[in-house]
């Protein structure tokens, strides 16, 4: 299994190459997904009778990441959807993009997506699940931005990626916590350790993260807005990713994790409430639209809401109904998208108001659209009917919420049925408008896919045969076997009456469709604006913090640096300081005088109006320091200090000679701030020196030199002895460096003067 999935990825360069050729060649690519479909069908069948298929490939053992796959009922069902519909899409895409400059890119990305999606539904490793999950998001990003000339599609592509990508990170967080709690990366193990998980303190964060991931991926309120935006993608992409497969990943996640973390009030109510709200809101929104693709997008959101609603109710029957709904929806919605694509491709418009009578020019497409619309309305003998039937039955039987919920479900179903009619029926009936007379017929490659998918809906005829696989798929969610009786005729039962009511309502709504569209659109629930607002806020914050932090002024940089360092040192000091001031030697008068001199010089330097005064005052302060050296018996150090101070002052003067007069540029506030910071920093250094001085180091170095200097080196000035005797080689090295540098400077000066001469 791992091999097959990786081969799909490996085939994407071939897809790029073959996809660029004419449709006749490109459609050959469908052979691979077709083969996969057959393979997974066999796998599903054998899993039905024997153990689930497993396969593992060690990937990164040190991180617990391995490519382990497990094909049970639920995985198998999704894998069949991915590969089966994928086959149709590859053929359809080959014709849809015939001659398009990026047709190769399309097929290659499609194969990449197929790999990722198969990985999502088949993997047993929760970390690998995250990897594949994000890959589906990324390939979706590439596909939405496919028609990139429009700024709208670029925007939508990023929006979709940010929303689903954030959800993906929540999935990563959930994965990490799951591994932390159960000690295993295997999803199967997680589903076995429900007791442990539900009792653990991490239960709440795990559930929240999982649901965040599922709701963003499956476009549930309040994250639903990216899906209608994603309709900027070419229609084959919308049909495949944004209706049949990728958006179902969230549903898959919730279904898969139900045995592990489901069954609590938190889980059930959150999912059911979000699902119900999305189901109704999106269905209402869908019928307002006039663009065929927008109608389908909102109806997809609504259908996903329905599935969540069923999953949230959490009884075995509703879980099974959810699985049935997934299959039915994938078939009819995929068909309708492809039909829309054909209409758009051939006529160049998707506006409901402009389309009519197309059955004359697109007869086969009309058949496919009609089949799908009927299935979506929930008429027998279509699969949509069966799915709705078991859903009604299950909701009737569940104890969680009052039966009012049923009304919501019926209303949403009726609205969805209306959507089906609007897309699959309305464009084909009536009088063909003048401007559509020239419409060319669609090639077989285009209509083959939707027709196949649409015909799949009639499988409802073999209701009995469908029970076993559906029950098997639901078993992985429910956790145990349960009897499922699918039949077209159960007698006159409450579900049947509800179905009849739904269809009647649908027809009524269709009749009054113009009136419905005139209703005001719901305002205030536009969470896309929230997203825009959030992006705007981030933008604003970054503007606010970039300005002060990026003013390119060295003094700001130094200020931040010094203040932070000062704060750190201050914290360190406050944590540790226990200074027992030793009894200090009493001050002598001339010491006080020197200190006063230094202080006065420092103040003058700060207040100086001219640079010259400042430099001279600084020099004076330096001389003061040198005087203290002299007083404390370090004449050589004092000598050095004197010469350094003198030299510095002279150099300063020379340099400032060349400079323009320094103007006062800083404000009073800035100067006070700088003064405070400088004084604080000076104070720190003072305390630091004090602390170091009263805790002298215990190293034996100074005593060694004090003893060894007279006996070994016959000198009494320790510093001199160290320089010329103990460390003579180092001194030699230093002198050499100095000489080399001097030579270098001389050479540079020489070159400069020569150049001047030459000029």
């Amino acid at each position: 299994m791992a091999f097959l999935i990786l081969t799909t990825l490996a085939l994407s360069p071939l897809a790029a190459w073959l996809g660029r050729r004419s449709a006749r060649w490109a459609q050959l690519l469908a052979l691979w997904p077709l083969f996969l479909t057959i393979w997974f069908a066999r796998g599903f069948h054998s899993a039905l009778t024997n153990e689930p298929l497993t396969d593992r490939l060690s990937w990164i053992p040190s991180m617990g990441l391995e490519l382990s796959f497990r094909l049970d009922g639920l995985s198998g069902l999704f894998a069949l959807l991915v590969t089966g519909i994928g086959t149709c899409i590859v053929v359809y895409g080959a014709h849809y993009f015939d001659g398009h400059p990026y047709s190769g890119r399309f097929q290659a990305t499609l194969f990449g997506f197929m790999t990722a999606m198969l990985g999502v539904v088949l993997t047993d490793n929760v970390l690998a699940l995250f990897v594949f999950w994000e890959l589906t998001g990324f390939t979706s990003f590439l596909l939405i931005g496919f028609s990139h000339r429009k700024s709208e599609s670029r925007r939508s592509a990023i929006q979709a990626l940010i929303v689903t990508g954030s959800g993906g990170l929540a999935l990563l967080a959930a994965a990490a916590l799951l591994v932390q709690v159960t000690g295993s990366e295997s999803l199967f193990t997680h589903t076995q350790s429900g007791e442990l998980l539900r009792a653990h303190p991490f239960y709440l964060p795990i559930v929240l993260c999982l649901l965040l991931a599922a709701f963003t991926k499956s476009a549930q309120f309040p994250f639903h807005f990216w899906l209608p935006g994603a309709m900027a993608a070419p229609t084959p992409v919308s049909a495949y990713l944004h209706s049949a497969t990728m958006v179902k990943a969230g549903v898959y996640l919730v279904a898969r994790m139900s045995p592990a973390v489901g069954g609590t009030q938190l889980w059930n109510w959150t999912i059911a409430a979000v699902g119900a709200f999305t189901m109704l809101g999106a269905a209402y929104r869908a019928v307002q639209e006039t663009d065929l693709k927008k109608i389908l997008a909102y109806s997809t959101v609504s259908a996903l809401g329905t599935i969540f609603f069923l999953l949230g109710l959490g009884t075995p029957a509703t879980l099974t109904a959810a699985v049935g709904y997934i299959v039915a929806h994938a078939c009819y919605k995929g068909t309708l998208f492809l039909v829309t694509g054909i209409i758009d491709h051939q006529t160049g418009t998707r506006d409901v108001a402009r389309l009519a009578g197309l059955r004359r020019v697109l007869p086969v497409t009309a058949v496919a659209g009609g089949l799908a619309a009927l299935s979506m309305m929930g008429l027998p003998p279509f699969f949509g009917f069966l799915a709705k039937e078991i859903a009604y039955e299950a909701v009737l039987a569940q104890p969680l919420i009052p039966q009012v919920a049923l009304g919501a479900l019926v209303l949403a179903s009726a609205l969805l049925g209306l959507c089906g009619l609007l897309v699959g029926y309305a464009p084909f009936v009536g009088e063909l408008p003048q401007d559509l007379r020239e419409t060319r017929r669609a090639s077989p490659g285009l209509w083959l896919g939707p027709l196949l998918l649409g015909t799949l809906g009639t499988l409802g005829l073999f209701a009995g045969a469908l029970s076993t696989p559906l029950e098997f798929a639901a078993r992985s969610v429910v956790g145990r076997a349960l009897p499922l009786e699918l039949a077209l005729w159960h007698g006159v039962t409450p579900p049947l009456l509800l179905s009849v009511a739904t269809v009647a309502l649908t027809l009524l709504l269709y009749w009054q469709r113009r009136g419905i569209r005139r209703f005001a659109r719901p305002r205030g629930l536009n969470t896309a604006r929230l997203y825009d607002g959030a992006v705007g806020v981030l933008d604003w914050i970054s503007l606010r913090i970039s300005r002060p932090l990026q003013d390119a002024s060295l003094s700001t940089y130094v200020l931040v640096f010094v203040v932070t360092t000062g704060a750190l040192i201050g914290t360190g000091l406050s944590l540790s300081i226990r200074v027992h001031l030793p009894s200090l030697v009493p001050l002598r008068t001339y010491e006080v005088l020197i200190v006063l001199l230094v202080v006065a010089a420092a103040i003058t330097a700060v207040r100086a109006r001219t640079t010259m005064t400042a430099v001279l005052s600084l020099g004076t302060a330096g001389y003061g320091v040198a005087l203290t050296f002299l007083l404390y018996g370090a004449p050589d150090l004092a000598m050095t200090q004197f010469s350094v101070e003198t030299l510095t002052a002279i150099i300063f003067v020379f340099v400032f000679w060349q400079f323009p007069k320094v103007e006062e540029t800083t404000s009073r506030v800035a100067r006070i701030r700088d003064g405070v910071v400088s004084m604080a920093f000076g104070w720190y250094i003072f305390v630091l020196t004090l602390v170091t001085a009263i805790n002298p180091t215990s190293s034996g170095l100074s005593s060694f030199y004090a003893e060894a200097a007279p006996t070994l080196a016959h000198g009494r000035n320790i510093v001199n002895v160290i320089l010329v005797d103990f460390r003579a080689l180092d001194t030699l090295g230093e002198i050499t460096v100095l000489v080399t540098a001097a030579v270098g400077v001389a050479a540079l000066l020489h070159i400069a003067s020569q150049e001047k001469l030459a000029r």
């Binding site: 990164i60 053992p61 991180m63 944590l575 170095l701």
Partner: protein
Amino acid sequence: MDTSLMSSPGVMMLFGLSPILALGLGGLLLMLAEAFGRPVVAHALEAQAIGAQPAGPEGQIVDAGAGRAAELALGAAVILFAGAIFSVALWLVGPENVTATERVAPYLLIDRFSVFFSFVVCLGGGIAALLAGGYLPEHRIERGEFFPLLVFCTLGAQALAAAGDLLSLFVALETMSLGVYCLVGLRRTSVRASEAALKYFLLGSFAAALMLFGAALLYGATGRTDLAGIGEAIAGLSGDGLEGRAAQILIALALLIVGLAFKVGAVPFHMWTPDAYEGAPTPTTGFMAVAVKTAAVAVLLRVLLVVFADERLGSWGTGWPPVLATIAVLSMFIANFIAGRQESVKRMLAYSSIAHAGYVFIGVVATSRSVDAQASVLFYLLTYTVSTLGAFGALILAGRYRAEAVSYEDLAGFGRRHPAAALAFSFFLISLAGVPPTAGFFGKLYVFKAAIQGELYWLVVLGLINSVIGAYYYLKVLVFMYMREPKPGAPFATPMRSGYVATALVIAACFVLGLGILPDTALEAAVAAVLGG
């Protein structure tokens, strides 16, 4: 190989030091080659100035001078990759089996930790040298000293990661830094470059002085200069001895962190980064972003885990973890926010490197509590090195002489003009964003995993939030490259081509994809390389 030869301590010593010696000797040779080689460029320029040599199409100078910088680049790359290969060889033999190198301890510690870093910085330096081989001739920065300086800086970075003594640590730090200051200001005629270099130099000297002060305090408190010795002395302090020294030790800790955080470029010591990164020639920027940062993190790890390993100093109440955690959070948030606003892609990458310093620091903080954290930092640095250098390399290819690609607009349609480079660029960016299956994803995953192991959940949450913010501006580049057409009349009609840059990109891309698909070997190496492992 002759066994008697291998058993000779001298030979073993040479072998143990071979990564460092290769760079040292190679750098000297390169310097001689630069000094005594014929200055072709000057001649070519003069010849053109007097009209002896015809100008090429579009008024450009015929590439007569490209040869020399390119040759030096090749030389530098060979030297640096040789250093990397010696590191690998040493790794395979096992530094612990090369006992002869104990004679240079503790000044240079040849252990798996330093050999791992030696490999990473040599790889980074080598790729940067290749990038320079294409960039410098294209932008007419014919300054041959670039290459010896680059080699010596890398040598400093290697030595920094191996330093086991405060003295050698400081010398190594300055060896690396002084060269980098020059590399930043290489474009002497550019005001911006000079300004950037000056700022970097002034602040860098300040940071180095603070570090030196911290080192002096440590010596004052313990009477030792070797890191292990200081660590032992601190651990042995108690009672009165501790009371007197605590202030010195804590302040030394603060000052060392400040100095190293400056080199890493973490907020709030990052101020120089955007200016220096933008002003510097792009290969230098790449080199600074990876080698300097990597070496600084290496020495930070060694200092924290050897010198300040004492449990009082590694605790959340009185130690370094809260400081580093604050730096990590600030780095991620501030850098990511500002990066999103940048109009220059180069500057965006500069901020991105600050944000990555934040992610690395999450791992560093986690070392106080998790055994995997050290390895995660090492692995992260490897993935970050190849992704970042690759991104800068691709950016080089997007520009031309007098028209360096700086803004997002400049990249519009790059996917069409230069499909291969754009594809590679995409890989590097999604690796930086942390999208699987690229190197960057596993780097992040491993760091976050270590942090979770250390129960630092809040840091992980903040890290994840930042990954989303980060993804936004990385992907913006992709949007411009593939989904926008250039405005009519925009420059860059013909993008630059260079075999050197292409080679560098291929190497980087191999690493990014290799580490993304089969990261296991590198992960195991990182685990084996941890200090005290």
